[in-house]
Structure formats: structure tokens, C-alpha cells
Symmetry: C2
Subunit: 296 residues, 2 copies
DNA sequence: ATCGATCGATACCGTGAGGGCATCGCGTGG
DNA sequence: CCACGCGATGCCCTCACGGTATCGATCGAT
């Protein structure tokens, strides 16, 4: 093994002091072993680093070059432990965050802002995944945090991030497309476009309960909201969609609010594995437990 | 003393192999001391770098950060010896080159080109100094190479870089200002502007010999050629200047060539101290001794 | 020229950090 | 439940490295 850090530190000290005795004192050691350190260094580099002029020593040109390298290395060595500790307690690091297409419209921006406030030096890595894939990624530690809809498997911890009610999306030519006030689900006489029980189990179940299983299952099924809007637009039926999607203005689709009697809220949760060792996640979770206000 | 290079290398090996046994093998050692190295590392950092999962190990987030730092350090460590050796044999480094104002016009560009060809990765640092200051700087190792005029003190080595003859500079209104062919020094009836015997000993002596000491000493003395041209322009007399200065077109000054009988060449030499330990200089000198052709 | 001071190099000795061998504890897979 | 694999631990030994004493050379002062 050639080149030890002690040799490098010794070399830097001698180079700066231009004097073995003073350098040894600075290093809290005596001069002879320091001399040997430098000799060993020069031997393993096969290069003279100092001109011994009887009266003190002077760096050679090669020594000056080596000194620069040593300074860079020692500077890195200096900051490495602190940087590592910051990463260990989650002050720095990377959070891999997954989200659903729906979540992206409603809350992703605010959520990222909140994360940025709580863990300022942490980098967020984003990935769009449907909820089932998110749970798999969370379990496999491919992702640190997911924005998902219920039901959330018991193995995960979660926090309610957003709650909103459902509104009715109707095709442009539909009788309910004109008008302004709330409508009742009983006014909808034609088919619903339903959520896929596999891809969007949560919305499927809620909507099925709202309109009655018998009427709900008759039309197309879709798992992603943009697909549903396309189907509504094509006149295939009405759909129940989260209110925040209204911000997504789609040509040929009108929205109507529901009677308070029929209104039903759907939720979006931040979700993580308690086994996840990512300190940045742990720090964020800790912060959330102390103050669950999302705008704090 | 915390953190040894062995620990860092051991850590990188384990991080890359995700396995203490294989890492130890790669490092040509056995597993137990490697385990202790990592333990010591984690203890001095006060950070867990690996998750021990019974089945192999996995880097923590902090470990990943530390790994990056280690890689950077070890990469520096890898290249440092080679860079130092290159500096030691003069392949890289800095050459501090001094030149006179005169030299700058005539040969500096070609000279730097030649240096660049012979020592491609060497940086040149330039400085304008009059010849006596150059010798002092060369002796004090403040400068590696000087472009000077004779006489050159015996302690230095030198190489003829440029030789040119002198031409006559006359004021615009002077009788000799018109005409094209060579003139004889005997046609000059008025005063000469002479070189200072201190600042430009060489040119002073040559010019004095050319025109005769008695006639030479009568007018102004200047040490720098631009000053002389200003004096000529002011009509204070004629001057003998190196031919290369003709390239410097000065309003109100005309140049006449001298009869071959009167022509006299002046030389410029590259000059260095044989004691100078700068390897870049040594390499250049070596190259010059093998092939003194300046355009090679 | 000589002597003394200063500074780096060398000789020798002792200790402890670090590596090897043997073994343990534990978690996993057959 | 057993056997295997892997990291952790205990013990021993060696040698690398630091300390003390001293040498040798160079430079400055007398």
C-alpha cells in the first residue's frame, strides 16, 4: 500500500512551513518520523518533492503540483464526514416521489412545495405510477413516498394530503350539460362510465356505492381520469370525477356539481414504508408527525 | 488520526461488491479486518454506512453520499503521482519568461511558438524586464528564461535566438529622410541619440564603436528603443536601431539601411541559470541542446 | 579559517495498530 | 429442522511507525 493520508498531511505541513521541525510541531510529533514520511513519499512517487538546501527546504516544481493535489484531497476529506452526517440525518439526500395522474393535477405542486419547506436541501425525484404500482415500488424501496388513493395496505404509513368531492362530467350535447346549479344523481338517466375495479379500486367502489352497483357497471371502464374524460367527450355517458380535474378544461365536456345529499369526498394520501431507511424520508415523516399541517 | 486511505478503499470495495468476503478478496486480505475497518469508519463518522441484512449488505443513503466523496478522493489519489511525475520531468509546469521591449517586437512570438512545440503542456508566464533586471531575476530564480542582449554573465547559459543588423532612424524633416538606397554613417552630420551605457550596455558599446566614441556621446541617452524613436521624432538627432523595430511604424520617423561596410549585427539570446531546478526549463534546455534549430 | 548554531538524516528501540486464524451468532433456504 | 452463508468477535502475532539520541552538513559570526 503506497501513500497514506498521514504522508499527505505531513507533506502539506512541511510544504507550508518550509521547515521539518516546525511542521512536526504543528503535527504534534517529532521531526525524525516526519522526515521518514516525506522520504517514503518521495520514494513511492519516485520524485523529489523538496530541495534540501541545508538551510531549510524548498518545494520543487513537482512538489508544488503534488501540493495542489494534496490540498484538494484533504479538502474533500475535510468535508466528507460532515456531508455524510447531513445525509445520514436526512438534511440532504434524495426523495423519490411517485404520484398518480390525478394527484398531479390537484396536489403535486403544493405537496412538493411543502416537502421543499420541510427538507430544503433534499432533491425530489418524480415518477408517475398508478396506485397499485406505487405500493409495489414503496415495498421494494424503489420509491420513498407515494401519492395514492385508498385503500392503503396496512404495512404502510400514510397521511391525508387532500380531500375533495366528486362532480359530474357530462358530454356537451347531454340534457344536463346546460344549467348551473347542483344536480341530483337521480337526474342522470343514461349510463355512467365507471372506474376500473383493478386500476382504480377506490374510485370504483365509491362511485359504485353512490349510484348503485346495478347501474354503475353497465358502461365502459377506465382506470385513468384523462381516459374517462375522453369517453365522456365521445358521448358514451356521464362520469364522476374529482373536483380538481375541473381545472383541466376539456373541449366537449361540461361539469355539474352534485346535490349535497349525493356529494361524496375522495381522498389522496401520502404513503410510505416505515421500513424505508432513507433518512431524508425519515426526517420528512418526523416533521409531518410534529406538525401535520400541509401548509406549514 | 481518523480516516485512513485503507478505510476508504475498503469501504469502496465493500460498497461496490455489496459483500465483505468478495471485497476482502479483491483487496487481498481476509474478511475480519475488513469488517473492523468499516466498523471503525462508521464509528469515527458516527454514521451507519451499510444496512446489515443478514444476506449481504446494502449502502445507506449516507453511505451513498460518502461513497461519492471517496471515489472523488481516490480518483485524485490515482492521478496525483502521475501528474507529479510529469511535472518532475518537465512535461508539465510553468516557465517564467522575461523579455526586453525590443525582443518582444522581433522574436517573442516565434520564441513562444518554439517553446510550445518543444514542451507542449508547459504554461508560459511572461514578464517584461530590461536586461540587467533579467539577470538578477534569473539568478534569484524569479524567472526561468530571459531574452537578453549580450554581454551575458558567465554564470548563465545561453543560446543565440536572433541576429539582425542596425538601421538608421532619422527625423521626418532630415536631409537623409528622403531617398531609398543604403546610406553611409559618414553622411550623418548631426548628433546621434545614443543608448544608455547602463540600461543598454550592449547596444551602447556597439553603436559607440560604429560611429566613434567622440561623436556618439554628444546627444541624449536612452535605454529603451521606444524612447529613442520618440527622441528621433522630436528631431533631436538620428539613432541606430535594430532592423526588426522598423515593423513598428512611428509617425515622423524614416528608416535608412546602412552601407554593408557600416552594417553591424546585434544579437538576442535566450539565457538561463544552470542551477535552476525547474524541470520544465531543464527539459526545454535538453531539447535545445539536442536540436538548436529554433524552427524545429 | 574556526567555532557554534541550526536543520535534516540516521540508528536504535519500543509499542500498538492492524492483519490472519479460528470461531460464533444469526438469518435464510432447502 | 438442519445446513449453509455471511458478518461479527476473540485471540495472537508481526511490523510499521513514533520517540530518543546522535550524526553530518551548511551557514553565519567572530
Amino acid at each position: 500500500m503506497d501513500l497514506s493520508l498521514q504522508q499527505l498531511k505531513g507533506f502539506v505541513a512541511v510544504a507550508e512551513e518550509q521547515h521539518f521541525g516546525r511542521a512536526a510541531e504543528r503535527l504534534s510529533m517529532t521531526q525524525p518520523p516526519l522526515t521518514r514520511q516525506i522520504q517514503g513519499l518521495e520514494r513511492s512517487l519516485a520524485v523529489s518533492l523538496f530541495d534540501r538546501t541545508g538551510r531549510g527546504v524548498r518545494l520543487t516544481a513537482a512538489g508544488a503540483v503534488f501540493l495542489e493535489h494534496c490540498r484538494r484531497m484533504l479538502a474533500l476529506l475535510e468535508i466528507a464526514p460532515e456531508a455524510t452526517r447531513r445525509a445520514a440525518d436526512g438534511q440532504t439526500g434524495t426523495l423519490r416521489i411517485a404520484f398518480t395522474a390525478i394527484g398531479a393535477y390537484a396536489v403535486l405542486a403544493d405537496f412538493l412545495t411543502m416537502v421543499g419547506r420541510r427538507t430544503p436541501a433534499v432533491t425530489a425525484e418524480l415518477m408517475e405510477l398508478v396506485s397499485p404500482d406505487q405500493f409495489e415500488a414503496l415495498a421494494g424501496l424503489k420509491v420513498d413516498l407515494g401519492l395514492v388513493r385508498p385503500p392503503i395496505p396496512e404495512q404502510f404509513e400514510s397521511l391525508l394530503v387532500h380531500s375533495e368531492d366528486l362532480v359530474l362530467a357530462v358530454p356537451a350535447g347531454h340534457p344536463l350539460a346546460v344549467g348551473d346549479g347542483p344536480v341530483s344523481l337521480s337526474e342522470v338517466t343514461d349510463d355512467y362510465i365507471g372506474y376500473s375495479p383493478e386500476g382504480s379500486r377506490y374510485l370504483h367502489d365509491i362511485c359504485a356505492a353512490m349510484v348503485g352497483m346495478n347501474r354503475y357497471a353497465v358502461s365502459q371502464l377506465a382506470s385513468q381520469v384523462p381516459t374517462m374524460l375522453a369517453l365522456v367527450r365521445a358521448g358514451l355517458g356521464c362520469a364522476l370525477i374529482p373536483r380538481s380535474i375541473m381545472a383541466m378544461r376539456v373541449q366537449g365536456v361540461s361539469y355539474r356539481e352534485l346535490d349535497s345529499a349525493d356529494a361524496h369526498s375522495v381522498t389522496l394520501h401520502a404513503c410510505w414504508s416505515p421500513d424505508n431507511p432513507n433518512p431524508a424520508l425519515q426526517r420528512l415523516v418526523e416533521s409531518l408527525q410534529q406538525n401535520p399541517q400541509l401548509d406549514a
